[in-house]
Amino acid sequence: MNKKVPDSKGHFGAYGGRFVPETLMPALLELNAAYKKYSKDRAFLKELSSLQKDFIGRPTALYFAGNLTEKLGGAKIYLKREDLCHTGAHKINNAIAQALLAKKMGKSRLIAETGAGQHGVATATGAALVGLECEIYMGSEDIRRQSLNVFRMRLLGAKVTEVSIGSRTLKDAINEALRDWTTNVRNTHYILGTVFGPHPYPVMVRDFQSVIGHEARKQILRAEKKLPDCLIACVGGGSNSIGLFFAFLRDNIRMIGVEAGGHGIESGEHAARFAGGSLGIFQGCKSYLLQNDDGNVLGTHSVSAGLDYASVGPEHSYLRDMKKIEYTYATDDEALAAFELLSRKEGIIPALESAHAIAEAVKIAPTMPKDSIIIVNLSGRGDKDVQEVARIKGIEL
């Protein structure tokens, strides 16, 4: 039997669904109906496509990283340059689309959570563009790590609200955004930044991000006259990775999602949900979760705020079961080394999140033949991380 995945309630096999307060259900059903309608609406799609081109700067380049390829001595490495998107990361693909949808739905206010600050900046940008009020929730620990992005959001006219309960990172910001949404659900749209949460978010965000893979597929066929052998992307919630992978799912090529290994799995200080988690229900859906035996959610650690999250998009859990995508992790140290390597070899400073994907390419490219091809999703640029990297290296700026 070939069941539709996800089903009408957002179940990807055993994962996904809707686990939210009843207060939010009408809003989720309304959003689902609006998304269904506008995802087939020609005028909406035309407006979105025009913004993707002229505002975001799509298509982003697929760049052959010749120096890195030569240095590693194996597979040819291409970088999908999402770092060249307006505001510096793939997050804008989703934020602009959802802001446009919220406007069509007649909402007057946008809210969002942010970890690294990239999604907050993207949402604040979307709000400024479509002319809606905007409030961003951010953990106080992340505010410290990403102060530059906090100021950017404020410049864009958003209110940034500090969340200083729990672990003071991304998950606590999501709790607070969900509380705000529960309170202001009538006039507010919640722009969730990743392929997580209650249905329809995992599907909708995936669709808005899948432009990455659709472009990359065309671009690699044009450049190499064949499909790549391997795709690599980092996985926090999992939006940039599913965005790249989705268009290649039927091609039977190797896909690797790279989670944050932090200080290593044994240390307990990481965000590698597949390596160290188990099935759980968290912030709106069922998926792999870092939790203790009592079902409380564990604190996570990563040098990169954007990967520092206790659970992972339900479709990733499903595709892992289906053996379509394999998952591994890179430690803080490996990511930091990749951060410097790409900066020096290619003149591209990657986001620390994306540096996890580069770290995996560094591991596997040398083991692959020279005529094989890897595409790495360079999901964001590293300007936001420069201060934090300097701090880690003990350099005073």
């Binding site: 669904g17 939210v20 009843e22 309960i165 709790n175 759980g280 009592d294 079902g295």
Partner: protein, 256 residues
């Protein structure tokens, strides 16, 4: 008929409304919670709602979030709450409801949890992040163990949602008075009154109202529209300040 249904039936006969106070189990300690249950009962509580602490209580406002953190620091877990209820049952037969988020139950094992909760003496369950659409396994496990499943409705609820929630709720229906989180400011009238009337009109099951009720006056106004009044954050706040809850609860009881 369950102990909760019986309670509502008897109150209805005498023309009274149920008072349902909420406290967080283990805040500030299990010993204090044990004493508080006795105090609440003697102050006139008809049913007591026991919170189970959770790391990410997304339906709760700051008062209960902090209570949850304090209880977690005491090492309180879902399993310990069940052991605690077993102990309470040696001295009290007041109907007890656990309010827990879904993940601890899921991790415990839905079937095992329902069985052990019933064995411990729990009467009903409220899970604020579980909607009927996702609750098939939970509902059948609860039915097998004769536990009441109390689902929530809100001012945003449509007729379709009301129908769905009413159908699977037993014991009573929990009507959330505001679009918001626990402890927010209550506003009587407006959408609350309209939806509540529409809920009452669609079922004979008792309806209790909670979220944001913090004074005897508010409790009195709500009790005119519903079969029961749930008071949580206001009591949890008194406990956090180390103040006596008996008098406050007695005043509410007199008002409804």
């Amino acid at each position: 008929m369950s102990r909760i249904e019986q309670t509502f039936k008897q109150l209805k006969k005498s023309g009274r409304k149920a008072l349902i106070p909420y406290i967080m189990t283990g805040d500030p300690s299990l010993d204090v919670t044990s004493k508080l249950i006795a105090d609440l009962e003697s102050a006139g509580a008809d049913i007591i709602e026991l919170g189970v602490p959770f790391s990410d209580p997304l339906a709760d406002g700051p008062t209960i979030q902090r209570a949850s953190e304090r209880a977690l620091q005491q090492g309180v877990t879902l399993r310990k709450v069940l052991d605690f209820v077993k102990k309470i049952r040696q001295t009290s037969q007041v109907p007890l409801i656990l309010m827990t988020y879904y993940n601890p139950v899921f991790k415990f094992g839905i079937e095992a949890f329902a069985k052990e909760a019933a064995d411990a003496g729990v009467d009903g369950l409220i899970i604020p992040d579980l909607i009927p659409d996702e609750a098939d396994d939970f509902i059948s496990a609860a039915r097998r163990s004769k536990l009441d499943t109390i689902f929530l409705l809100a001012p945003t609820s449509t007729q379709e949602r009301i129908k769905k929630v009413v159908k699977v709720s037993t014991g009573f229906i929990y009507y959330v008075s505001i679009t918001g989180i626990t402890g927010a400011r209550l506003s009587i009238g407006g959408p609350m009154k309209d939806t509540l009337e529409s809920v009452k009109g669609s079922t004979n099951k008792p309806v209790a109202v909670g979220f944001g009720i913090s004074t005897p006056e508010e409790a009195a106004a709500v009790s005119k529209l519903a079969d029961g009044v749930i008071v949580g954050s206001a009591i949890v706040r008194l406990i956090a300040e180390g103040k006596d809850v008996g008098e406050f609860v007695r005043n509410i009881k007199e008002a409804i």
